[in-house]
């Protein structure tokens, strides 16, 4: 079966007109399944490949770069048409990317970039973390419309790049709006339970009635914080406005229930743009831009969150 597909794929590659993407074989080296989002990314990638009739070879690296490099080498050895990598770390890729280049196999990076010369890969499909924070901040600026607002912030894991960038983007959006002030900012480690614990302390330290909005670096922390706010006898989404990032199913549910106001989507669909670029390149050598930014879509109560929830809940979040 595999051999047959490979042979077919080879035949297609040699064919003078290779306009059809059908019968392509693509290798996908995934980091692992450390978070719900990651699991959803895997699911969506498989769905995307299926829709396009691509034979996707999936390799789970279990958080180890050596496993990823091994997987890529085996993809090369199998003579796949293209490789998708969600790199676990930024460095140490030059050698294996060289090998792929020598074998004329295009590589598309997903979700994260690497420190390697950019001629070694076709393109990188990532979200813009700073932009996500910016969208969240902009939403809040518009939402309060000039009224005074004391904001508390639940940061991601201290020192991680999403935490740094999402904080930066949010602060950029707030610049020049003196009615908005971040009064407390503490890490909730991207987890529900820490989000809840830290929100509890915010509520006590500031007094729940003095907090106008919560910005959480991810939905999990926001979901935890919602419970803390409820236990403090306040109404999340009304007494305290809540905006966070990721747009996981539970966030849509919370918005649908009126307990949360907005979330910015970190789309798990990195594979869509990645495979678009790959197919175009394989068909006629179209060079995509070196960086494809995914859309950071804002979801608010105006969207049909119930429907989105139903759609997303089986993606493996």
């Amino acid at each position: 079966m595999n051999i047959k597909t490979t042979l077919l794929a080879g035949a297609v590659a040699f064919a003078p007109v290779a306009g059809f993407a059908a019968d392509l074989t693509i290798g996908f080296s995934q980091i692992g399944s450390e978070s719900g989002w990651r699991a959803a990314e895997t699911t969506v990638t498989k769905q995307q490949a299926e829709e396009r009739g691509i034979d996707l070879k999936f390799a789970d690296a279990q958080q180890k770069q050596e496993n990823q490099i091994k997987a890529i080498r085996s993809f090369i050895a199998q003579g796949v048409d293209g490789i998708l990598i969600a790199p676990v770390v930024a460095t140490g890729w030059d050698e294996v990317l060289e090998e792929a280049k020598d074998a004329d196999i295009p590589v598309v990076l997903m979700d994260r970039t690497v420190d390697a010369p950019d001629d070694l890969y076709l393109t990188a499909v990532t979200s813009d973390l700073v932009h996500e924070g910016n969208v969240a901040g902009q939403w809040l600026v518009d939402e309060v419309a000039g009224a005074d607002c004391r904001v508390v912030e639940l940061q991601g894991t201290t020192g991680s790049s999403p935490a740094i960038d999402r904080k930066t983007g949010f602060e950029q959006a707030l610049e020049g709006h003196d009615n908005l002030e971040i009064v407390r900012s503490q890490t909730g480690d991207f987890t529900r339970s820490q989000g809840k614990v830290v929100m509890e302390s915010f509520l006590k330290a500031e007094g729940g009635e003095n907090i106008c909005a919560l910005y959480a670096h991810n939905d999990d922390m926001a979901v935890g914080a919602i419970q803390a706010i409820k236990e403090a006898g306040l109404k999340p989404g009304e007494d305290i406005k809540i905006v966070s990032i990721d747009a996981v199913p539970d966030a849509h549910l919370a918005i649908a229930n009126g307990e949360m106001n907005a979330t910015i989507e970190l789309t798990p669909n990195m594979a869509g743009p990645a495979l678009d670029a790959m197919e175009a390149y394989l068909a006629d050598g179209t060079m995509p831009p070196k960086w494809i930014q995914t859309e950071s879509k804002l979801y608010t109560a105006e969207d049909d969150n119930k429907a989105v929830y139903e759609m997303k809940k089986d993606l493996g979040y």
Partner: protein
């Protein structure tokens, strides 16, 4: 007799009480409203309540951990067992079972994990740190298999009440850990278990020769540790209405061990005090509370925690206690001056 026991206990836990008081005082300094408690939304509400409530998982873990450490062992797997138990409870209610079934299922899972550890340690004689490392590493994977990698969210009100509910206005978690702690502490002292466990921890060879069934006792303490971890796991899952296999109880085994150590229990086994360990857990939570209330940037969290914990351990170190002892001893009561030798008593020197 009872009064004597209480007095002995007070003497034993005095250093921990003093440190706890100091930690709470520090909270009061950074946040003057710290001790303010009011009744809101049908529950007690205040920072001090948070300390008791948030300390629940560590407190529950350190009940079992104290017993395990008293036998000269250690249980690194408790954090992972929490994740497994939480996942079990969540998946049971998601499958439509009642909260009680879920709780029993989670406890049974914890008991199996503890039993596994106990067999490795007591029967196969694998060193506890290695034996429990197996489950520490593998356990989280097992939990992920149960939740299928997602945060398994549930809405069962009965189960949620275990973590986020209240009993007479007191958060359930507080009631659970205080009751369980008191029960186990009381049980080991009212039965002969405490003494037999200490005996094994101090000298297993002697204990065996004295006719103690050390194997069964060892399995039992790991089993208790697994049960405590399971209960902690259910509470943590109930608290956030979801089982987070990746993060539930992450690194909490280290906090539990630290609580036992701050409780003045030796990692080399032997004499133990569960009450002191529980106070140790509260001390750790008070330190966490200082960090949250201080409003310092999160980059300082770990540094502040490390400094405070280091300070606590230094104060408790044998060297410092010795200095305390000497300072106290040289205080009020007059000491005979023994600086100058008295040759008349040194009989031998006469003939020189």
């Amino acid at each position: 007799m009872m009064a004597g026991a209480v007095q002995g206990l007070l003497k034993r836990i005095m250093p921990q009480l003093v440190i706890l008081a100091a930690a709470l005082l520090l909270n009061f300094i950074v946040f003057p409203d710290f001790f303010h408690v009011d009744f809101r939304n049908g529950r007690l509400f205040g920072n001090i309540i948070d300390v008791l409530n948030r300390g629940a998982p560590t407190a529950l873990l350190c009940i079992g951990m104290t017993l395990v450490i008293a036998t000269r062992g250690i249980d690194l797997s408790v954090g992972a067992v929490m994740a497994i138990a939480g996942a079990t409870a969540a998946s049971l209610v998601v499958d439509g079972h009642g909260w009680f079934t879920a709780l029993i299922g989670a406890l049974a899972t914890g008991a199996i994990c503890g039993f596994w550890n106990g067999i490795l340690v007591a029967v196969l004689r694998i060193q506890p740190i290695v034996a429990t490392l197996v489950l520490m590493v593998a356990g989280r994977g097992v939990a992920q298999l149960i939740t299928e990698g997602t945060i398994l969210t549930f809405l069962n009100p009965g189960l949620i009440r275990l973590g986020a509910g209240t009993i007479l206005g007191i958060p359930t978690a507080i009631v659970i850990w205080i009751c369980l702690g008191a029960f186990v502490a009381f049980a080991v002292r009212r039965t002969a278990l405490g003494m037999l466990i200490e005996s094994i921890g101090i000298n297993e060879a002697s204990s065996r020769l004295a006719g103690i069934n050390s194997r069964v006792l060892l399995v039992c303490v790991y089993l208790v540790s697994g049960l405590c971890a399971a209960l902690a796991g259910v509470i943590v899952a109930a608290d956030i209405k979801g089982a987070d296999a990746n993060n539930a109880g992450l690194w909490l085994e280290l906090d539990a061990i630290l609580a036992v150590v701050i409780g003045g229990n030796s990692l080399l086994g032997g004499r133990f005090s569960i009450v002191a360990s529980l106070i140790g857990a509260l001390i750790i939570q008070s330190v966490n509370s200082v960090i949250l209330l201080s409003g310092m940037p999160p980059e300082f969290n770990l540094v502040i925690k490390a400094i405070l914990i280091l300070g606590i351990l230094v104060i408790q170190s044998p060297k410092v206690s010795y200095i305390w002892y000497m300072l106290r001893a040289s205080g009020p009561q007059p000491q005979p001056d023994r600086k100058t030798p008295r040759p008349h008593r040194a009989t031998e020197e006469k003939t020189q």
